[in-house]
Point group: C2
Chain length 189, copies 2
């Protein structure tokens, strides 16, 4: 019998595709085995368990998202950087809904610390260099940016903004305008 050529990476990539097609919660060892035309038990030489698989998909997505963010930030500053970075989040979530959902998968602290999560925070800090903020306001602002990006994208993915005027794209642009205005005029404590 020919071998299927399973590896952890191949499984993770296929899992990410499956997530985008069917939803992150549809990522199961069973579904993955079907996709490789292999028995379920065979996967367990490559991944520890389903939790492990999902964790690896989450790490992949965080990495991809951070890479896109880094590209977007290159050579940009100020509102230009803010806009480009925000669009990376939203576009990624729209192109890869399952992977985006994976980024919200709860990681245990050590795994999270070793993930690309830190890069995300660093990039937001970099954006803020284009605005006049000192610590701890910088951190507050990073958290607010993260909240808006994630919150908007998540509500939009949940259908929250569809079927009602105005267009979601319009609200998104205005949200970025608003954030830019806010960062330029950050209220004192």
């Amino acid at each position: 019998m020919a071998r299927a050529g399973l590896t952890a990476q191949r499984l993770v990539e296929a899992g990410a595709e499956l997530a985008d097609e069917a939803g992150f919660d549809q990522v199961t060892a069973s579904a993955l085995a079907r996709r490789f035309d292999v028995k379920v038990a065979s996967l367990y030489s490559h991944i520890r368990n389903t939790q492990d698989l999902k964790t690896r998909i989450a790490l992949l997505a965080l990495e991809e998202l951070a890479d896109r963010g880094a590209s977007a930030l290159a050579g940009r500053a100020g509102k230009d950087a803010l806009t480009a970075f925000a669009n990376v989040y939203r576009d990624y979530a729209r192109e890869h809904p399952g992977r985006y959902a994976a980024t919200r998968f709860r990681l245990d602290p050590e795994t999270a610390a070793a993930s690309a999560g830190r890069r995300h925070a660093e990039m937001m800090r970099a954006i803020l260099r284009g605005y006049d903020l000192e610590e701890p306001d910088r951190t507050h602002a990073v958290r607010l940016l993260g909240s808006v990006f994630h919150g908007y994208v998540d509500l939009e993915a949940g259908g929250g903004f569809s079927h009602s005027a105005p267009d979601s794209q319009e609200s998104w642009s205005r949200a970025i305008d608003a954030l830019d205005a806010l960062l330029r005029n950050w209220p004192a404590a």
Copy 2:
């Protein structure tokens, strides 16, 4: 054999408790049956299936959250109203993480339309009466508020802001200050 006194409502309430204790994704017919010391099949006279159960928990949570929001808004305006309403979201999510997660459960359009979701939007619009915004900016602002509330609460629940200074409470307060400042000084299109 004595009857357990199952009803749809009792199941939904127990399901909500279970969600808060163990997580919304741990809400299963099996776990619920165990909790009532009843066979799993018995639940199916009261709920159609697991999806139905989760939907009802979501509707309960949306309702509870809207009720709390309405109480908080009574007699308040401006930043006072904004702060009180924002805290309702965050406090609810912290007290009832499983129920809060349930509010993000995807509902089919008709169910969503009949849910308390509309009340939430109405309340945010009411808050904006304390600020000087016309349509469509009002809608853009509602969406931004929703994004910040949900985004912050979700990231915080995921552990995003723990284990790093400054305190999450501080960032939350400053986020509300920032939103207030932003709404008072909303940038023109």
